[in-house]
Amino acid sequence: MLLKTMKSRLILHIDMDAFFASIEQFDNPDFRGKPVVVGADPKGGKGRGVVSTASYEARKFGIHSAMPISKAYRLCPDALYVRPRMRRYVEVSKRIMEILSEFSPLIEQVSIDEAFLDCTGTERLFGNPVDIGKKIKGRIFKELGLKSSIGIASSKSVAKILSDLSKPDGLLYCEPGKEKELLSQLDIKYLWGAGEKTVQILRKHGFNKIGDIAESDGKELIRIFGVSGKKLWELANGIDDREVVNIRVRKSIGREITFQEDVDDLETLEKTILYLVDRIAYSMAEEGIMGKTVTLKIRFEDFTTFTRSKTLNRYTDFVEDIKNVAVEKLHEFNIDKERKRVRLLGVSVSNLIFKGTDGEYLSGLQRELFVPEGDEKEKVQKVLHAMKKQFGDIVKRAIFINGEDHNDYN
């Protein structure tokens, strides 16, 4: 702790430019230099859904993320509208993280196309901060053909603001000690942590530049925003000691299957759920996470798709718990009675927490009065996971031994 406060940190925020659209342009040379919109099907202007990412060429027409696709279509009917290919984007994202890991082991992936990197102490290896940034940008472009923007500073929030300002294809560095000066002239909308609502309120109170906030005595902010007011004041003054935390932010973990032939018998569906949940629980154990919300996704032969969720009152990574909820939700569809045929089945777990710093699951803080009933099954699960790790997928539950093999997606 002491060392860290004495020595200034070197934090990079790497943000990919128009990530999905750029991948599409790289993969399809015909798209290059043209407006590309990744998102829902515009259906000649009648489409529902929103824009996921617009290429810089499309942005010139005023198209941006989260805009209704119908509006985008009105702005630029000639743009190339493509559906997202998440698997491809995830693959590219993974590769980017691998590249980043060559520069520092301390990576915090914030989203699919954005990460913080703590490069403190790597200057001797890679050169001065700007050199490091240039090297990273170069590596990503050379290998994946994608442009990125990088902000470099002594804190996460300043690095984030700089990458934002440098877009597209930019690189900005703030020398330690100059944070406050740099921030002071910026509009408050750049302040990381201040959302649209907060910005509105700030403006109402006469704060327009980040400097206005930094210059205030902080009391008014605390009066307006409570504890977060203090945070805003600190951020405006370039004070941000949040560390780059080595976890991947995951919102959910799930698996799904599209059946070769539509299925209408409950037993097969329940077996499939167990199969999916086994895999989910394995990944959860691998990543050291537990979840609270279980969601069942079901698509019938006519492509109508439903999701049903239930939130447990505790975190779990336990096959039985997840399976029970998924099966319970499955039964709500009256598949047996109404003879519905199922095309796709998926299970996911969300509301996740990571292993605590002391190596214990946070929810494991509470001790139990009785030896839990699930104890035996829990042991089985642990052994099963250990075996799977060693021997791979040939380790199966007995009920799957004579079964046909499923096609496992994502």
Binding site: E320, E360, L362, L365, Q366, R367, E368, L369, E373
Partner: protein, 377 residues
């Protein structure tokens, strides 16, 4: 069917019956109630498959008969009508509802649903029954019901366990992390056990039936209770309730009740309760953990949250032993302190890891056990 009933009575009967109809059930029929007029009585029955309730009331029955209609809709209609007699009349598969108040001239027709698919709700006790005082029963339920598990996967813990032993009626609820136990001498509640009161191995009564009793305001203080193999029958005033018992094995709670504890502290209930309430304002709601630092003559209740800050409060206690820290879920402590009928509370413990017990110093037959949380503040 053709009956005339008083509006207030009708609306009371209906709202009682409707309180257990299930709106979220997979069986749509269960959102309805069965209306029956016979023997100059109106019977309204509802069920959510687990619990069934039948509420009777004296009415003027001109023609006997029955119909199944939406209880909620019927109740909404009745509530809108003036305080005088109401006519309920069936016409093939429709229920006609009309106020007999001359000041309004309104008519409602509710479509009935298939009578055959409405579940049979058996509300007559077959076998012996015993009578307990409503207030005693209620106070016992209140002292344990908060410890019932919300976790459907721990099915056996989603109800209150009832049994008779050593001439006492015991009720126990636990969610696996804390436990509440209340017991009363049968002689104190005016019951004589002939050995058939409650099945020997005890029963687990689901929460719904018990919450109904907590909500209800009794006119007659006598409540009859009886059991069949897998059901409990509860009768009070003009209500007959039946509920499926929870099948499953309730854990052997007697085994975990700590005995021969040497370490304990005594604290004023109000003081302790307020301190926990105040300190818990800044508790991390994901874990709800507070720390009790027990020191000679005083205790520090504290909490620390990574996102919000922390709080601590010192209160006086009677204690002369060694310093010890115990962390626990503040809600468990709050909930049991609220139910203790005693000015002073005795908390005994072994160490930071084993269960603590919480009792009223002047209250017999009520015990709470709370399992601590790990300390790593």
């Amino acid at each position: 069917m053709n009956i005339i009933a008083d509006k207030k009575q009708l609306s009371k009967q209906l709202s009682l019956a409707d309180s257990i109809t299930s709106t979220r059930s997979s069986l749509p029929i269960l959102s309805n109630v069965l209306i029956e007029g016979k023997d100059n009585k109106l019977y309204i029955t509802s069920s959510n498959l687990e619990t069934g309730i039948r509420v009777s009331g004296n009415v003027d029955v001109q023609d006997e008969g029955s119909i199944v209609v939406s209880g909620r809709k019927l109740l909404s209609i009745i509530r809108e009508l003036p305080d005088s007699n109401i006519l309920l009349k069936t016409d093939s598969n429709k229920l006609l509802v009309k106020s007999l108040d001359s000041s309004i001239n309104a008519k409602f027709t509710l479509l009935g649903v298939d009578r055959e698919s409405f579940p049979v709700v058996k509300t007559e006790i077959d076998g012996s029954e015993f009578v307990v005082d409503a207030e005693i029963l209620r106070s016992m339920i209140k002292k344990v019901i908060f410890s019932i598990s919300q976790d459907e996967s721990k099915y056996a813990l989603t109800g209150v366990f009832m049994e008779i032993y050593d001439g006492k009626l015991a009720m126990v609820a636990t969610d696996g992390k804390r436990l509440a136990l209340v017991e009363k001498e049968l002689s104190d509640i005016g019951v004589e056990d002939d050995g058939s009161m409650i099945p020997d191995e005890g029963v687990i009564v689901p929460k719904t039936a018990l919450s109904e009793l907590l909500k209800y305001s009794f006119e007659d203080q006598n409540v009859s209770i009886g059991f069949s193999k897998n059901q409990i029958f509860i009768k009070y005033d003009n209500v007959s309730m039946v509920s499926n018992l929870i099948e499953g094995k309730f854990p052997d709670y007697k085994k975990i009740i700590p005995v021969d504890r040497e370490n304990f502290f005594i604290v004023d209930r109000e003081t302790f309760l307020s301190a926990i309430k105040r300190v818990s304002v800044l508790v991390d709601e994901a874990f709800k953990r507070v720390k009790l630092s027990i020191l000679p003559g005083r205790m520090i209740v504290s909490t620390q949250s990574q996102t919000m800050g922390g709080a601590e409060e010192e209160i006086p206690i009677e204690y002369g032993g060694e310093d010890i820290d115990i962390a626990l879920n503040y809600q468990y402590m709050l909930e049991c302190l609220r139910e203790i009928d005693s000015e002073a509370v005795v908390v005994d413990f072994e160490d930071s890891e084993r269960a603590i017990t919480v009792k009223g110093r002047e209250e017999k037959g009520y015990l709470n056990i709370i399992m601590p949380m790990k300390i790593s503040f």
